[in-house]
């Protein structure tokens, strides 16, 4: 092997601002591309065993399970051509997954090893849909009691609310010109950081915003993120993390980055993006500054505060890992 003196190695870049700075590792995944390829890497979660679970629309292996060091542990799934949304839920001590499939127009609940437990078809009970093709679910959020909220982010932008057994309860959002309406409702999550006022956070990606709703679907307010095509909100500890698919100022040119907000929904760090600036309390336009990422699509935060970034349409790259710098 060739001797490589340490001075020849470029220092790992440092990304981010304030107390949220990270070192980037683009070679985290040790998967063999010949055996376990990926297409779009859409979403990632960590299970209670510490494993990192990736969902891709590559039907050779829709689900790839890694350890935190990037070693591939196992894979499953070949029946999810439109695999997009991945949510993990602890159901009375047993972990389950919810997969949103864009192509199948369905939400599928599975065990951690891929056994199908429930399938939610297009929600004709809402009266808003006449055929499955109109419904293109992108994300789910599950509340502590098991209620399911599905974001129809590539369909009609409704949030559809079911009970734990999959019985339709109500729906809200949809398109329109009022603040309560959504445009590209790409993600949804439960924000219970404020124990007195838990809420649902919904992405309105083309409006560059998150919108807050009560669990019964009443609109609360909008968190404007000018310039940022935010994907799903991911809450971990006191912080909210989100992949930003691209910058409004440089559309469809691999202009994505990652944003981090504090508990008051104030942007405190952008990884590969502009230093957050507020003028008279108003967030100034966000944009990519360094091309570390192309089209980030999701952030997974592990139990050691490392981040894993899954990317859409980015040359079939495996996820990147970011380690916090303290």
């Amino acid at each position: 092997m060739l001797y490589q003196p340490s001075f020849l190695f470029k220092e790992e870049p440092l990304l981010g601002h304030n107390n949220k700075r990270y070192k980037l590792n683009t070679h985290w995944s040790q998967a063999d591309v010949a055996k376990n390829p990926v297409n779009d890497c859409h979403e990632m979660v960590q299970d209670s065993k510490g494993r990192i679970i990736l969902l891709t629309n590559e039907t050779k292996n829709n689900v790839i399970i890694y350890d935190k060091s990037g070693k591939l542990l196992t894979t499953w799934g070949s029946e999810y051509p439109g695999a997009h949304g991945l949510t993990l839920f602890n159901e009375n001590g047993t972990e389950v997954l919810f997969i949103c499939d864009n192509s199948r127009h369905q939400v599928i609940k599975t065990t951690m090893d891929g056994r199908v437990l429930m399938v939610l078809d297009y929600p004709k009970e809402t009266g808003e849909y006449t055929k499955a093709e109109e419904y293109v679910p992108t994300e789910t959020a599950i509340t502590a009691n098991g209620d399911i909220y599905v974001a129809d982010g590539y369909g009609k932008d409704f949030i559809i609310h079911y009970d734990a057994s999959g019985r339709y309860i109500n729906h809200f959002g949809g398109r329109g010109n009022e603040p309560k309406h959504l445009l590209n409702a790409h993600g949804v999550c439960v924000d219970n950081r404020d124990k007195n006022k838990p809420c649902l956070l919904v992405t309105s990606r083309q409006q560059n915003a998150f919108k807050r709703y009560t669990f019964t679907g009443e609109y609360i307010d909008t968190i404007a993120l000018p310039g940022a095509w935010v994907c799903r909100p991911v809450i971990k500890g006191d912080y909210l993390y989100a992949a930003v698919l691209q910058s409004n100022s440089n559309l469809w040119k691999q202009s994505g980055f990652v944003t981090i907000l504090d508990q008051q929904y104030k942007v405190i760090s952008n990884l590969g993006g502009s230093e957050p600036q507020y003028a008279d309390g108003k967030l100034q336009e966000l944009y990519q500054t360094i091309k570390y990422f192309q089209y980030p699509h999701d952030v997974c935060v592990d139990d050691e505060e490392n981040l894993y970034i899954a990317q859409w349409n980015s040359g079939k790259v495996y996820p990147y890992k970011l380690s916090p710098v303290v």
């Binding site: 502009s274 336009e285 500054t289 091309k291 570390y292």
Partner: protein, 262 residues
Amino acid sequence: MNRLATSLLLFFIVTTCYGQPVQLAPPLLKYQSVFFRDTAAVELSFAQQGTSIHYTLNNQLPTEKDKIYTRPIRVDNLITTVKAITAGEGFLSSEVVAATFIKDGLKIISIQQTAANERFPGNGNNTLIDNEGGVADLNAKTWFGYQQDSVEINMLLEDRQKISSVLIHCLQDNGGWIFLPEHIQVFYFEEAKKSFQLVAEQWNPSKEIITGASCVPIIITLPKKIMARKIKIVLRGIQSLPEGHPGKGKPGWLFIDEIKLY
């Protein structure tokens, strides 16, 4: 070891260990509209430590040797293209961001045009003469969007005036099925003949697909100066999207947000 072998070994070590430096993104070029009456101030920003913005106003591609941006750039020429990049040690310089700022022309007192598609209705009848626009976003309310064979625009000046060129401001967003006009005809009303006369014609077939969205000012210099009060422009959009486009063979869209007469 001879010198060639040493060089090759060093090249191998360096490229293996360093890889390619990461590229910076372009600066943010902010403006309300690229159209202005007398003068405009163009703002650039880039909130990234250790970097600088460099720009040109002479249509040349900017490099790190060009002027560093420190404050808003004042423009007052008829047409000024601001081109800017970012640069910083340890990074590849960014791609160029550019915008062309356009000064008002002869005063058009009324305008009538083919009705735009209801999805892209612009901002009322005067959309093409309101000095608003230049945002390369098909959803901006400044664009008239058309998906039909031809678009006719009739303009009336205050009185008969000398006209030497016409500027048509279009959107190019091939990913969004929006292409530049393929055929443009400019007519003027000749009082003596009491009819419109063709004064200029331009063919611009779209053969290749361009990525990204940008505003394109199409300037047609008239082969002869004319005196006229009424001008008519007929635009023909792309009728068959080119090879390699997902909509190959289908008609494309034509987007316009402003017209100037000089």
